[in-house]
């Protein structure tokens, strides 16, 4: 005899208990600490902070631990927490030109004021598995030098002085910057919202989209004007005090792409910009973002928008991995009510098909 399915509540509790055990793994192995995650899996923390839109290394590390290393799940945890935080204002724009750079490279000029600084990078490492890292590895002390007093102006600013690259539009005084986590998104969306969407967007999705522009689906001839990674100060203009108060320093990666030029009968030709910015050290993300940002400017720059990466609705509606994973994974929820409805319809159609194609029906038709 059939017994109606009960006990879902206990099943859930037991499943979560089992998950907690699986998360901890073999208990004779030492537990990973948040400091270890933050210090030794720092790029994972950076990604979770970026796509989670919350700059908090400790919470991001906790999310990674709680998510068993599943970064999209960790991003989801951070986002859900962030959604409950009160918003008390908008910071002053950060000045990436004044960044305390740890790394800074340009692909457009051999040397630049302030110099090229390779910094901590996987670039030029040979990707050979290194058994010495398995345990007890003590790295050599890094080479150091006196901090240079030289300024490190942004390469795009240098190009901009000669008018070779379009100027970045200045924000209107007092104009507020859009926030798609607070206002529903409508299309067409302005660039502030597009950049916010891309900054929160899935690294893999943006990588594929950016890559597609390089392969001809919306090609825009990019050069890396500059990638810089380092610390910037965040300031908040507190109305009570009457001036900007420093809130602290955050690590950022910024990528400025210099793209194919445009011009017209009335405007001298100049390079165009694509922009990428992310928390922490996230070069792949910011480079992809810059490519896609430029591609999405097709409409504004009067280009024909034919490729997926140039399609604002397509890119912005599908870039968010928390949304995407939720909807894809919801397919594992029960759908038996709608499925039953489809089954009923299909059976009816098949019955009618069988009747129409039965031998005597065919005979009748022939007569």
């Amino acid at each position: 005899m059939y017994v109606a399915v009960k006990g879902g509540e206990r099943a859930i509790e037991n499943a979560h208990r089992l998950l907690a055990n699986a998360r901890r793994g073999d208990q004779s192995v030492a537990e990973v600490t948040l400091d270890q995650i933050s210090e030794q899996l720092g790029l994972a923390v950076d990604r979770v902070m970026s796509e989670g839109s919350l700059y908090d290394r400790e919470l991001a590390a906790l999310a990674i631990k709680q998510a068993r290393g599943d970064l999209i799940e960790a991003i989801f945890l951070v986002r859900a927490f962030r959604a409950t935080l009160p918003r008390f204002g908008t910071s002053e724009p950060v000045d990436t030109g004044a960044m305390l750079v740890q790394r800074r490279v340009s692909a457009t000029f051999k040397d630049i004021p302030g110099g090229q600084i390779l910094g901590p990078t996987f670039d030029y490492t040979h990707r050979l598995l290194d058994p010495s890292l398995a345990e007890g590895f003590v790295p050599e002390t890094p080479a150091t030098a006196e901090t240079s007093a030289a300024l490190t102006p942004r390469v795009t600013d240098i190009l901009g002085r000669d008018g070779l690259i379009e100027s970045s539009p200045e924000a209107e005084d007092g104009a507020s910057v859009g926030d798609l986590t607070r206002e529903p998104l409508n299309f067409p969306a302005d660039r502030d919202l597009r950049l916010q969407n891309l900054a929160r967007g899935d690294e893999g999705f943006l990588l594929a989209m950016g890559y597609s522009t390089q392969r001809g689906y919306g090609r825009n001839h990019p050069f890396v004007g500059e990638i810089r990674f380092g610390e910037v100060e965040v300031e908040f203009a507190a109305e009570d005090v009457g001036f900007a108060v420093p809130l602290g320093a955050i690590e950022l990666t910024e990528c400025q792409m210099v793209n194919q030029f445009k011009g017209s009968a009335t405007e001298a030709p100049c390079f165009t910009r694509g922009y990428g910015l992310a928390f922490g050290q996230s070069e792949r993300k910011t480079m992809s973002m810059a490519l896609v940002d430029r591609a999405l400017r097709a409409r504004e720059l009067g280009e024909e928008a034919l490729a997926p990466a140039q399609d604002e609705e397509f890119v912005m509606s599908h870039s968010d991995n928390v949304q995407a994973t939720g909807f894809v994974e919801h397919l594992k929820l029960p759908h038996y009510v709608d499925f039953q409805s489809e089954l009923g319809l299909l059976r009816k159609l098949r019955k009618e098909f069988a009747e129409a194609n039965a031998p005597d029906a065919m005979k009748e038709a022939a007569e």
Binding site: A11, T84, Q323
Partner: protein, 294 residues
């Protein structure tokens, strides 16, 4: 560490006000999809975040909440959402349809007729009824604005030309208050007539797609059809094997791998209520066992 502290029913009051404004607008324009700044909820998108936000925004301490998924109070996601509100709002919960003041649902409308003091909150995955005919939001919003629904009728007509019937079994489109074509969420079309002239307020929340829409009480809701192909609700032609109901929507249960099937009410509260009232089906416990094997 910034230890989280949460408000009554999880959402902060500012967010609730924003959602309530969207709800009021939705009620004022029946069937129209109101964009709202959907928040990230602690459950995944696609798992009821729209419904949860609507419920969180309308829930008061005196409310009695019922949550169903596929008609049942005991499906895992229904339990999870019910526990979420029991924990964050401390409201009373129930499985009895007539005792609830707020009912959140996924994919079904309860069999028991709703009354005026109830709100039915639907979880909606894709709020746009025209989405699979036209993927662009900019385009579908224009079509709604102009009440340009020819494309939908062409689709239904093509179904008839190809299959002899309108081949939509769930999420069957309706026209609300003779103006907006609306997606009833993926409920089976069996449930469509229940939406028409319903005494309860019906609210629809789509979290991922950031839309809220509504059917105010006693509003006309018409399933799209043609004069010569009128709308027909589908129901498997059998009584419920547990309670014998002849008029409820049925789940099909596969009982073995030799083609064995049984059909039972999808609305578990309705089914249990009938059994408690002495109704029995062919496969319910004794004394009807003999009959089942006879």
């Amino acid at each position: 560490m910034n230890a989280p502290a949460y408000n009554f029913a999880y959402l902060d009051e500012q967010t609730k006000r924003m959602i309530r404004r969207a709800i009021l607008k939705a009620i004022a324009i029946p069937g129209y999809q109101v964009p709202f700044a959907s928040r990230e909820m602690p459950m995944p998108y696609g798992w009821g975040t729209g419904g949860v936000q609507v419920t969180a925004a309308i829930l008061g301490p005196q409310d009695v909440l019922k949550v169903i998924d596929q008609g049942s109070d005991d499906t895992t996601n229904a339990i999870s959402i019910r526990k979420f509100f029991a924990k964050t709002a401390g409201v009373a919960t129930t499985t009895a349809t007539d005792e609830a003041t707020v009912i959140q649902t996924r994919h079904r409308i309860p069999e028991t007729a709703l009354h005026e003091n109830q709100v039915l909150v639907y979880q909606v995955p894709i709020p746009e009824p025209l989405r699979f005919l036209e993927p662009r939001e900019t385009e579908t919003r224009r079509m709604h604005a102009l009440a340009e629904y020819g494309l939908m009728h062409v689709k239904l007509y093509e179904d008839i030309a190809r299959f002899g019937h309108i081949a939509t079994a769930y999420a069957y489109p309706v026209k609300v208050n003779a103006r907006y074509v609306m997606d009833p969420s993926p409920t089976p079309k069996f449930d469509n007539p229940k939406m028409d002239n319903c005494p309860a307020l019906q609210l629809f929340g789509a979290g991922r797609e950031k839309r809220i829409y509504a059917i105010p009480p006693y509003t006309q809701v018409v399933s799209l059809d043609f004069e010569d192909h009128p709308f027909e609700p589908y129901r498997f032609n059998a009584p419920c094997a547990l309670c014998g109901a002849e008029n409820s929507y049925l789940d099909e249960i596969v009982t073995d791998d030799k083609g064995g099937r049984m059909f039972v009410c999808s609305d578990t509260d309705y089914c249990e209520g009938r059994q408690a009232a002495g109704h029995h089906g062919s496969l319910s416990a004794a004394p009807y066992k003999e009959k089942a094997h006879g």
